[in-house]
């Protein structure tokens, strides 16, 4: 399946891109998908522990199994207000 990652703020800057598409096995858990992403973009690794993950418009945890077409956002600490 094809997973679309969206990178925001400091993570977008670190990776130098706002979107990354990666092929991976269907049903990959979020935490494994992040491993795959960080293999490709090691400059994201220092943000991993502080970032949350969303699929679509909702936060998810690392156990969540991804399906084809999921859009995964990496959410570094937010700063609205």
């Amino acid at each position: 399946m094809r997973v679309s990652f969206r990178l925001w703020s400091v993570m977008r800057v670190a990776a130098g891109t706002a979107r990354v598409e990666i092929e991976m096995p269907s049903g990959t858990p979020v935490r494994d998908a992040l491993d795959i992403l960080i293999d490709r973009y090691p400059e994201l690794s220092r943000h991993r522990s502080s970032a949350r993950v969303a699929v679509g418009t909702d936060y998810v945890d690392g156990d969540r199994l991804l399906v084809d077409g999921d859009e995964v956002s990496l959410i570094p600490p937010v700063q609205g207000g």
């Binding site: 969206r6 969303a54 679509g56 418009t57 959410i75 937010v78 700063q79 609205g80 207000g81």
Partner: protein
């Protein structure tokens, strides 16, 4: 049922002072404006550039606003967050709560802001002089 409205906006926030059903039971109206300050980490800036995951921000913000309005039994709750470039002195966040009682409206405004600052995917970057 409370009137709840949330919006991510580009451009100047014009506070909607007419929100809420006329003849409602509101006895208290509390408004909050977050204004971009002239210094960021001690250095003078021209403004802040707000980046936002808009679809997600609207969903998260709506959930926060609806839960808060229900919990505090508000008459209405309006939350507007401006994104893009916001110059120093202009409003980046506007929250307005209408309630029968003062404390509910005040606490609701604070609660919305606390949760927004924790969960709504918006980020800022200083724009230097």
């Amino acid at each position: 049922m409370a009137t709840v409205l949330v919006q991510i906006v580009r451009g100047v926030i014009e506070a909607d002072r007419r929100l809420g059903a006329p003849g409602g039971d509101r006895g208290a109206v509390v408004e909050f404006q977050g204004v971009v300050r002239g210094l960021e980490d001690g250095a003078p800036i021209d403004g802040l550039e707000y980046e936002c995951h808009v679809e997600m921000a609207e969903v998260q913000l709506r959930r926060i606003a609806e839960e808060t309005a229900r919990f505090f039994a508000l008459d209405s709750l309006l939350v507007l967050h401006r994104i893009g470039f916001v110059p120093v002195g202009e409003t980046s966040l506007y929250v307005r709560a209408e309630s029968a009682h003062r404390r509910a409206a005040i606490q609701a405004v604070d609660e919305v802001i606390v949760r927004l600052k924790r969960d709504v995917p918006i980020w800022k970057a200083a724009c230097g002089t």
